[in-house]
């Protein structure tokens, strides 16, 4: 269900930046937020790139859920513990506190009920890591304002009629949701269009305008 397919399988997102190791920059950022040896559930794990990165670089005990049958079968054939499932319906089956981290990488905007998904993530795991494309990015704003059509960018290459992304949000929107459901934002990083993290001390409005994607580390407010 990962809505940003890795560049090697989908030429439309070839523009996503990769670290010298070859891993996607946003995934490396996510991985850096995970403690070594933690128990991790990757929701919408795609072809398993993040799970593999996590197990190789952080030694985690990783599990995945993926909607597409092809993605699941590819993951299982790689030896990853992945099941076919839907973030919107299947998270409810997991017990409380089963994981240290529940990760939703570039998938939030494709869920039917993002708020419920987020709440489940922080019930199942003590931490949640969410990355998503920022719909408040200046390129998106300008396309709608001046070109007058639904924005299409390198990381959001779909047309309005075939996009799986049904719940876009901006960094500002996401922060508001976190406040509403009472979760603690432990860390946040925004990436610019070239995949580099923005200045840490920049104000939120700056991130919301110049961040193309954002990664949030959340925890329960106890």
């Amino acid at each position: 269900m990962n809505r940003l397919a890795p560049a090697d399988t989908d030429p439309t997102v070839a523009g996503i930046e990769r670290a010298p190791s070859g891993a996607r920059v946003d995934l490396v950022l996510v991985a850096e937020m995970v403690e070594r040896g933690a128990k991790v559930l990757d929701v919408g794990c795609g072809d398993g790139e993040l799970l593999r990165l996590l197990s190789e670089s952080r030694g985690v005990d990783g599990r995945g859920i993926e909607l597409s049958r092809e993605g699941v079968n590819e993951c299982v054939a790689k030896g990853l513990a992945v099941i076919q499932g839907d973030a919107d319906t299947d998270l409810a089956d997991y017990p409380n506190d089963a994981f240290d981290y529940v990760i939703l990488s570039q998938t939030l905007q494709a869920t039917r009920r993002p708020r419920v998904v987020l709440e489940h993530m922080l019930r199942i795991g003590s931490h949640a890591i969410v990355s998503f494309p920022n719909f408040g990015h200046w390129q998106v704003r300008l396309q709608l304002l001046f070109a007058g059509h639904m924005p299409r960018t390198v990381i959001l290459p779909f047309s309005w009629y075939d996009t799986p992304n049904i719940h876009h949000c901006t960094i500002k929107d996401f922060r508001k949701l976190c406040t509403e459901i009472g979760v603690k934002m432990e860390k946040a990083v925004a990436l610019n269009a070239w995949g580099s993290p923005l200045r840490l001390n920049a104000p939120w409005w700056f991130w919301n305008l110049f961040g193309e994607q954002a990664v949030f580390l959340l925890s329960r407010r106890s």
């Binding site: 299982v76 099941i83 089956d93």
Partner: protein, 408 residues
């Protein structure tokens, strides 16, 4: 699966073999060919769920590959209802290749150059492990219906006795499809610390009402055959071949799918251009089914069919754990790889999903893949490259965690 032959099959042929021949032939049940035998005396009975002790007990099995020095590379293969221990070598009765040679062998997904494969015949079957067609040493006659009713758990207990006998404390993997998958699940529930990883394929944690119903039709076909003689056919030198063949024909349909039957046979006629306006096997699909029935009775015992279908009917893993399936796998250390097939209507994907939900609720390490195929339930026995890639990848990953060398 056997392709339909060019000759016609008549149901009448089923009973043509001389009855005396059947009685005189040394029974595979007592003296299995091409098999190893483990014997357990009266001092080590198999304690059955039915509340009786089965002794003596004989288990026929086959092994492939070599057990490593650490005894850590053993893979137990659990066979399905009509399978047997001849999983990866020529069947001594039918002379056909083993039933899972696509999966097991040198360089295959379950690689016998790397793993030590053990495949026993289940208790209650008819290929050398004690069952209703075995000779009861107390009477010197075949057990027949005096054989106690057995369960999936009894089969697994007997397999555990065999592994104790072989000095294998911990299995690297247990794998099987259909009734074999039920045994895999029972293994993981009964002996979680003896199973490093488990592959239950095309199966369920309980037999559905529809499946029990199909089995009942098969059993009634056997019971309705006058040759069955109240289960005493071996003593009376008869054989309920027609009943068993009909049971097999009915069951065989459930192993396929509408799409697969249509693709294979459609409405094609068998060696004729027009219908004969009779009840001859006009259609290819009829001829194929008759062939399936006839060839089955050559290698299978009717009473075993009754006992094994019953064992599947009785299987309800959650029932042993206060109705909560997740409790069957509580704190399990076993890694699971659950596989289902899109066109399997005997054990549909929803059944596998229920297993996965229970395993998730137990925080088990589980992989689950559904394979897109029109071949129905039988797909697990057929050439399904995606299944092979998944099994190979899963075992490679588990092998790394187990510390198995790439080739042992």
């Amino acid at each position: 699966m056997v392709r339909p032959g060019t000759r016609k099959f008549h149901m009448g042929e089923v009973s043509r073999t001389s009855e005396q021949e059947v009685a005189d032939a040394p029974r595979e049940a007592d003296q299995p060919h091409e098999s190893l035998i483990a014997r357990f005396g009266a001092d080590e009975p198999l304690k059955l769920d039915a509340g009786v002790d089965l002794a003596p007990l004989q288990i026929a099995y086959k092994t492939y590959g070599t057990l490593n020095a650490a005894r850590s590379n053993a893979v137990l293969i659990c066979h399905a209802l009509t399978g047997d221990q001849h999983v990866a070598s020529i069947h001594p009765v039918t002379k056909k290749p083993g039933w899972w040679e696509t999966m097991i062998g040198p360089g295959k997904p379950i690689d016998t150059e790397r793993y030590y494969v053990v495949c026993p015949n289940v208790v209650g079957a008819c290929m050398g492990t004690t069952g209703p067609s075995s000779t009861d040493p107390k009477t010197g006659k075949p057990w027949g219906l005096s054989f106690p009713v057995i369960t999936i758990r009894d089969m697994v207990r007997a397999q555990a006795m065999l592994l104790d006998h072989l000095g294998i404390e911990s299995l690297f993997a247990v794998a099987g499809g259909s009734m074999g998958g039920m045994q895999v699940l029972q293994w993981a529930a009964s002996y979680p610390h003896r199973v490093f990883c488990a592959l239950p394929i095309a199966c369920a944690t309980r037999h559905s009402a529809q499946n029990i119903a199909f089995h009942e039709v098969g059993r009634q076909a056997i019971l309705a055959d006058p040759e069955w003689r109240g289960g005493r056919y071996l003593l009376e030198n008869t054989n309920p071949r027609r009943g068993l063949a009909v049971a097999r024909m009915g069951a065989h349909i459930t192993y396929l799918s509408d799409a697969a039957l249509h693709r294979k046979f459609g409405r094609k006629f068998q060696d004729r251009a027009n219908p004969t306006f009779s009840f001859d096997a006009d259609f290819e699909v009829e001829s194929y089914l008759r062939h399936q029935g006839i060839s089955f009775v050559e290698r299978f015992d009717a009473n075993s069919y009754l006992y094994l279908t019953r064992a599947m009917d009785y299987f309800d893993l959650a029932a042993d754990y206060d109705g909560v399936l997740a409790n069957a796998f509580k704190d399990t250390p076993t890694r699971f790889c659950v596989v289902s097939f899109t066109s399997d209507w005997l054990f549909p994907t929803s059944e596998s999903r229920a297993i996965v939900h229970a395993l998730n609720a137990s925080s088990a390490r589980v992989s689950f893949a559904e394979i897109d195929t029109d071949k129905g339930h039988d797909a697990f026995l057929l050439d399904e490259p995606e299944l092979f890639a998944i099994v190979r990848g899963f075992l490679d990953g588990a092998g790394k965690a187990r510390g198995l060398s790439p080739k042992s």
